[in-house]
């Protein structure tokens, strides 16, 4: 199938998800209450899920391209843990400030994310070049390290802060309101714009650092720009709805299998697919054991894993 057709199908699916999801699982019969629920709760939640899913998928896609490895994502490399730690410390210290109208937690998470990626990249690059194995292992180690610091922060916090941190660490979209969309959208938009701007560079980075450099890509500078915008994006998402895992690994990989490695198509496909995917997961999270909810992070992992394996096996038996 031509990339344009695949992309259109993905975009239509995303649009359907946006339109249908708010009306699923309305437990009340009163039309007035239904209207209230849809406009005040469901629509902001679905919009937020779309933006967050798109951002997570794009950041995952960028990491996979930069490190030439489908397993390298902001979550596996500890960036999300760093962001979580930043946000947890923000809660623990009882900080509450805004900067340029944005919540301080976002910036705390952003700083945590930047510290994490600097550690991972700095350590794994210490020797000449860096191997994917070293990178992933460093990411896992940093991830564990930050996770234990989060536990410590939680342990030191009072009961209500501790509960707040725990709830949020599970990754949930339950309490999202319109205001949160405005807190998230600028960061995801900045990240998206940068990625679309750098699509040629991303294509060449996928081919390897040596090829990219020999074609004229200033690899180091591009990498730092991408670290910066993805850390902002992941920081904002993590601060607002907690670390929702696996979207950034599976969505771009599935999109690669569907549409190929050309970021001209892959970036918009990941954006729409990521958005639709998180809406789907969030809808399931509130339907499965309604009226109770499962944290959406659990759903993303349960749903994505088997699907990913299925596609992997399918592409293997088709290829070669």
């Amino acid at each position: 199938m031509k990339p344009i057709k695949t992309l259109l199908l993905i975009a239509i699916a995303a649009l359907l998800a946006l339109l249908v999801s708010p009306y699923l699982g309305l437990a009340v019969d009163n039309p007035e209450v239904q209207h209230q629920i849809v406009t005040q709760l469901r629509i902001p939640r679905v919009l937020f899920a779309f933006i967050a899913g798109a951002g997570l998928a794009l950041c995952g896609m960028v990491f996979q391209a930069m490190f030439h490895n489908p397993l390298a994502t902001p979550f596996t490399l500890g960036v999300a843990s760093g962001a979580s730690l930043g946000a947890a410390i923000y809660v623990y210290l009882g900080l509450s400030f805004t900067l340029l109208g944005f919540d301080g937690g976002t910036f705390a998470a952003f700083i945590g994310a930047l510290v994490a990626i600097s550690c991972v990249y700095g350590i794994s690059r210490h020797q000449s070049g860096f191997s994917p194995e070293t990178l992933l292992l460093t990411g896992v180690a940093i991830s564990f390290f930050f996770s234990s610091l989060i536990l410590l922060t939680q342990y030191l916090s009072n009961l209500s802060d501790s509960f707040q941190i725990l709830r949020w660490l599970m990754g949930s979209l339950t309490t999202v309101a319109y205001r949160d969309i405005l807190q998230l959208l600028p960061f995801v938009a900045l990240c998206t714009a940068t990625i679309l701007w750098l699509q040629r560079e991303l294509n060449l980075l996928t081919a390897g650092d040596d090829i990219a450099l020999s074609r004229g890509v200033p690899v180091q500078r591009i990498r730092y720009i991408l670290f910066f915008v993805t850390s902002l994006c992941v920081g904002a998402i993590v601060a607002l709805c907690g670390p929702i895992g696996f979207v950034g690994m599976m969505v771009p990989h599935i999109c690669r299998l569907l549409i190929g490695n050309d970021h001209r198509w892959l970036a918009p496909a990941s954006l729409f697919f990521g958005g639709a995917f998180l809406i789907l997961c969030d809808t399931l999270s509130r339907l499965i054991i309604a009226p109770a909810e499962i944290p959406v992070g659990v759903i993303t992992t349960l749903l994505g894993g088997p699907f990913f394996l299925w596609l992997l096996v399918k592409s293997r038996s088709k290829g070669t």
Binding site: G208, R215, G216, V217
Partner: protein, 266 residues
């Protein structure tokens, strides 16, 4: 002939290990330089330092009277192109997409595929005879096809200097000859200056114009290709005695490793 490339006292250290130590070498316009040397001599490092893939610690690289350190990577890529060691089969791109990506250095963010780009592409495809498989995936190519595509991409970049890192090391004799012939054509008919890293002593002495022999990161010998076989340094270069014969067709002198090793020579 005028000087295209002037490498002055180039040194590269990585993790406190000296990989290249005060290398001096010049390349004329239209030259074909083969870099020889034992494994670990710094041959690939030299190419990577020229391409800007690794940074040099000291020294200067001057291309067409411009110091490369003052150029952006993009501008460098308009002057130098590079074919890495056997690599192509790992790339998950179609051949056409991969070759088209080589036009990056001639593009800005908003530029479209231009007439110049299309000409460069068609030219590269026809020289390297790769038109027939542009719609295949890189991963499905044979070693010889893959190497021709890698060269096609480098040619499409339209740089006056082409660096090749062991372009024939993993190929069978037929495809070795094919790629050697292609490199000769690029050099002689299209005026592209070549620096090729090779382990094939006889290929280097017969086909290249100059040879740079590296050992332990230092220049051991540098001169016209045909002179290396008479040089005392040949034995020292590989720690190996050679015996000589002539090619039955061309009459060129061929070096063969001697059966008696250096250690127990009589």
């Amino acid at each position: 002939m005028t000087v295209l490339l002037d490498v002055r006292a180039l040194s590269v250290n990585i993790a406190n290990k000296v990989l290249l130590s005060t290398i001096n070498v010049q390349l004329q316009h239209g030259d074909y330089l083969c870099v020889l040397g034992p494994n670990g001599a710094g041959k690939s490092t030299l190419l990577k330092a020229l391409m800007g893939i690794i940074n040099s610690n000291s020294g200067e690289i001057i291309l067409n009277k411009t110091s490369l350190s003052s150029l952006s990577q993009k501008k460098r890529a308009r002057k130098i192109s590079y074919v890495p060691q056997a690599y192509g089969h790992q790339l998950d791109f179609s051949v056409l997409d991969f070759i088209k990506m080589a036009r990056y250095a001639h593009h800005s963010v908003f530029s479209d595929w231009s007439r110049d780009d299309q000409n460069a592409l068609e030219h590269a495809l026809s020289i390297t005879n790769t038109e027939d498989f542009i719609h295949r995936q890189m991963t499905t190519l044979s070693g010889g096809e893959s190497q021709r595509v890698m060269i096609a991409a480098a040619v499409c970049q339209q740089a006056p200097l082409l660096l090749l890192d062991e372009p024939t090391s993993f190929l069978d004799p037929h495809h070795q000859v094919e790629v050697h012939h292609l490199i000769q054509t690029l050099n002689q008919q299209h005026g592209i200056s070549i620096i090729e890293v090779s382990h094939d002593l006889n290929h280097a002495t017969q086909h290249s114009k100059h040879i740079l022999a590296l050992k332990h990161g230092k220049v051991l010998w540098n001169g016209p290709s045909s002179d290396l076989l008479q040089s005392e340094h040949l034995k020292e270069l590989y720690d190996q005695q050679f015996v000589f014969t002539t090619h039955p067709q061309t009459g060129a002198t061929i070096a063969l490793p001697s059966e008696t090793s250096l250690g127990n020579k009589s």
